[in-house]
């Protein structure tokens, strides 16, 4: 019986764990090792070079730019996205006007319509979204500038992605556009589980909607907000920012490296410039930034769990 149990455990774990170890865990370990070598990726020969790659990275101006942009992504995107989503979710679920004889709290009219529509971008590939907005931002024939012309703002015709000081914000706008809906739906689900009598008590005490939000909704939703924050930050540092920057900006990486981010720089060094070892060094820096981000958010956001 015991024998059968262990045979079963090994039999069931072998394949998933083997696949995971081979394609995920092993490459991770390897890449940390490679960051101490001079491997090009083009030939199998390499030798250990100690911390040379790390020294080179600290002197690399483009690395610092990409780090700066990635940090900006990780700071700005979660704040903007989550604030917008909290506002929308609150309006949708709690913001409805009180009707005589109706329930104490209710959402605005058409709340389920908003939830459906806001979620649209979430099911689309970030690559398709990026392509679509690359056209919309086109200075001559794009939808945005032509809309501006249409309403008489002929003088306001920004270059959008072609303008080094604007391109990064354009890219961030697209990520906000595509992620807000997910968080609206996520927070709505959390808000639905807050008991109505808490709101009732607040209303009896004469609380308005703003204080209801800050005194009741936000504290009770805090755990969800916090995990959403970490989730958005990881996306903003990783796969999502890679797709939008690589697809939307020229270069890729923008005019004068104005939009390059760490994850794109890793890709370019490894697969464009044949400097695989240096690429993994930047990758290790990205790993440190990601883990530090998650640790800081969890630490700053820690508070006593509210039971209700």
């Amino acid at each position: 019986m015991q024998h059968g149990k262990y045979r079963f455990i090994v039999g069931f774990l072998a394949l998933p764990l083997g696949l995971y170890a081979l394609f995920v865990v092993w490459p991770f370990i390897q890449s940390i090792y490679y960051s101490f070598t001079d491997w090009t990726g083009l030939s199998p020969e390499f030798k250990m070079v100690g911390f040379d790659n790390y020294k080179r990275m600290l002197d690399d101006e483009i690395f610092w730019k990409s780090l700066q942009h990635s940090l900006l992504f990780a700071l700005v995107l979660p704040v903007v996205t989550i604030s917008l989503a909290l506002f929308f979710a609150f309006m949708i679920n709690v913001g409805g006007r009180r009707r005589r004889g109706g329930p104490v709290i209710s959402g605005v009219r058409g709340s389920s319509f908003y939830k459906i529509v806001y979620f649209f971008p979430q099911v689309l590939s970030i690559a398709i979204v990026a392509l679509l907005f690359a056209f919309a931002y086109n200075p001559d024939s794009g939808a945005i500038n032509s809309l501006l012309r249409g309403i008489g703002l002929d003088s306001v015709q920004p270059l959008w992605l072609g303008d080094p000081s604007l391109a990064l914000w354009c890219v961030m706008g697209v990520l906000v556009w595509s992620s807000v809906g997910f968080f609206v739906v996520l927070f709505s689900a959390g808000m639905a589980s807050i008991p109505a009598d808490l709101y009732e008590a607040a209303l009896l005490d004469g609380a308005n909607r703003v204080s209801t939000f800050f005194r009741i909704t936000l504290p009770l939703l805090w755990d969800t907000v916090q995990s959403g924050w970490v989730y958005m930050g990881i996306l903003a540092l990783g796969a999502e920012s890679f797709a939008v920057v690589q697809i939307m900006t020229t270069g890729p990486g923008g005019p004068d490296y104005s939009t390059t981010v760490m994850v794109l720089y890793v890709y370019q060094k490894a697969f464009r410039d044949g400097q695989a070892a240096y690429a993994t060094t930047i990758g290790v820096a990205l790993l440190i930034v990601t883990l530090a981000f998650a640790a800081i958010v969890m630490r700053l956001g820690r508070r006593e769990r509210l039971e209700y």
Partner: protein, 307 residues
């Protein structure tokens, strides 16, 4: 983007909301007035965001029916007639049919593999006590927060050495491996919530461990499998970074890659209307599936984050 749209749509929207102002309300007059200003503002914001989400999508659909010259001269004008030939050109000349087929093969294979392997690992980790259980669990979970790009550099060479580079089955194996962390995390939690008594009864009746799993536990875990299946389906269907690195053969491209390549090559081909048709073609199936299975999709995508 945001500021420009505000100018265009706010007057119309706030006008619409103002008309609803004199609805009956229990609040006193002063509070009512303040509440109404807030109400008009926040309603306006809700409508504005809905408008901002839908407009780019509608614009893409409209553009896919226009001819090339009017795409450039008047981006917001309605098409003079419905150019269905754009769609036909995208489907055949621009290889959208191949991209669809490749994507269906890759996602079909990876989705089945992810669910089978993920539920096997999750079941063992959730229900059996053995040395190393916690370690393996956290090894899987750790994969969720690590930047994938870091692993992709050596992974390219691992996959290449195994002769799996630029193959559909190689891509399937990699997709499965990178989908396992969330799948194992989600299903482990799910298996823990299922009652143990049924499985114990089956075991007492002489069913083997694997038979208990396939005939009793898996059917009981169906809601969890559907949620995590939808999550993985969308993630794998929309995947861009993994195929960009590991799948460089033009014949094996998946949808997202194919569209990006198509856009890049339009510089000299100039078939923009065909490209828009391709974009819309790739968008519509997932949007349609979302509208039909809306409740399940939303549950599948948000369930993990709420745990």
């Amino acid at each position: 983007m945001k500021t420009t749209d505000t100018a265009a749509s706010v007057p119309a929207e706030s006008g619409a909301s103002v008309s609803k102002v004199d609805m009956p309300s229990a609040a006193p007059a002063k509070e009512k007035k303040e509440g109404n200003v807030l109400n008009v503002f926040s309603r306006g914001m809700l409508v504005l965001w809905a408008f901002m989400v839908v407009m780019p999508l509608l614009w893409a659909v409209m553009t896919s029916f226009k001819d090339d010259s009017s795409i450039f001269s008047s981006p917001w004008a309605l098409p003079d007639k419905l150019h269905f030939d754009n769609w036909a050109r995208a489907w055949t000349d621009a290889n959208m049919s191949d991209y669809f087929l490749n994507t269906i093969l890759v996602v079909g294979g990876s989705l089945i593999g992810t669910l089978v392997l993920g539920s096997m690992a999750a079941y063992v980790l959730a229900r059996f006590d053995f040395p190393g259980n916690r370690f393996i669990y956290f090894l899987f979970i750790g994969g969720m927060s690590f930047p994938i790009m870091l692993a992709l550099v050596p992974l390219f060479y691992v996959v290449n050495n195994m002769g799996l580079l630029n193959t559909i089955h190689g891509l399937i194996l990699v997709y499965i491996a990178y989908s396992l962390p969330f799948t194992v995390f989600f299903l482990t939690a799910f298996f823990r919530t299922l009652p143990t008594s049924v499985a114990e009864a089956a075991f007492v009746d002489g069913a083997s461990h694997s038979r208990t799993f396939f005939q009793i536990m898996l059917p009981m875990a169906k809601p969890g499998l559907i949620s995590v299946g939808i999550f993985n389906f969308l993630g794998q269907w929309n995947q861009y970074m993994l195929p960009t690195v590991l799948n460089t053969d033009p014949d094996k491209r998946v949808l997202t890659q194919g569209l990006v390549q198509l856009a890049a090559s339009q510089g000299y081909k100039g078939d923009w209307s065909g490209l828009f048709a391709g974009l819309v073609m790739a968008m519509l199936p997932v949007l349609a599936a979302y509208i039909i299975f809306q409740r399940q999709v939303v549950q599948g995508l948000t369930a993990g984050a709420l745990k």
